[in-house]
Symmetry: C2
Subunit: 124 residues, 2 copies
DNA sequence: CTTAAAAGTAGTAATCATTACTACTTTTTA
DNA sequence: TAAAAAGTAGTAATGATTACTACTTTTAAG
């Protein structure tokens, strides 16, 4: 039934080859090295499909752009409100309690979002 | 030095009086009951200021809009990918490990973002 | 094979949440 | 009490994302 296209593969590969959290536009720039005439719309459509199929994660930090993450293992995203950096942190879950000692990062707040299906939507 | 205005107070009150996670447009609609000619721009500006000062939280779930939360105590946000609902969950932190048993919510993925200042930006 | 339906794409136009801007009002402070 | 500072309403502009159209690639059936 199809979910193959060299564009989608290039997009997934691009995401898995980098360890930051690129936006759609950044993924587009990266993939253009391989497929020069790929369309930005194609990047958006395939990123959405990859999120939907669970192959990648979408990370929203509130900077107006959606970020994407090829690493699906559980980790925190430390977002600097000054420079906008998004830093991965594999802190033990215990430390989630008081949010201290995050490699020099000074935490102020945290927001956790769990994606899935609610009780009502589960029953169809 | 100012951070008073009846508009800002009305916006904060609106957020604290409701227990959902309204968007800027929804806050605007609510506050208009009290200040009918308030401007949408004023709502955006004050929401940003309230987030900056730490009085409210911004919650991004990846639906293209920013949501705001007057409840700053730690809790999970369960986001249904079907109906878009954002449900509060005060699950014990232990359960973060396997993300099961969230009141009938079927979890697929989770993303946690910690806001603050990174090591570099800390040193000015 | 080969051909028609299905799925995907490039490129462009449209949408819409958010931000910027301007003239005006309220608050502060000296 | 008057001038500077901060905030506001209303509108215009921005920019990330989505929709749309004509075209290409893939799939599947005879």
């Amino acid at each position: 039934m199809a979910n193959y296209s060299k564009q989608r593969e290039a997009i997934l590969t691009e995401l898995q080859n980098r360890c930051d959290h690129p936006t759609a536009a950044q993924v587009y720039e990266g993939v253009r090295q391989v497929i020069p005439n790929i369309s930005l719309g194609t990047v958006y459509r395939n990123l959405a499909a990859l999120v939907e199929s669970g192959e990648i994660l979408s990370v929203s930090v509130g900077d107006g752009k959606e970020h994407f993450d090829g690493d699906k293992s559980f980790h925190l995203h430390l977002h600097c409100k000054n420079c906008g950096a998004i830093i991965d942190s594999r802190v033990e879950r215990e430390k989630l309690k008081n949010l201290a000692d995050l490699d020099g990062f000074t935490p102020e707040n945290s927001v956790c979002v769990v994606y899935g299906l609610c009780k009502n939507c589960n029953k169809q």
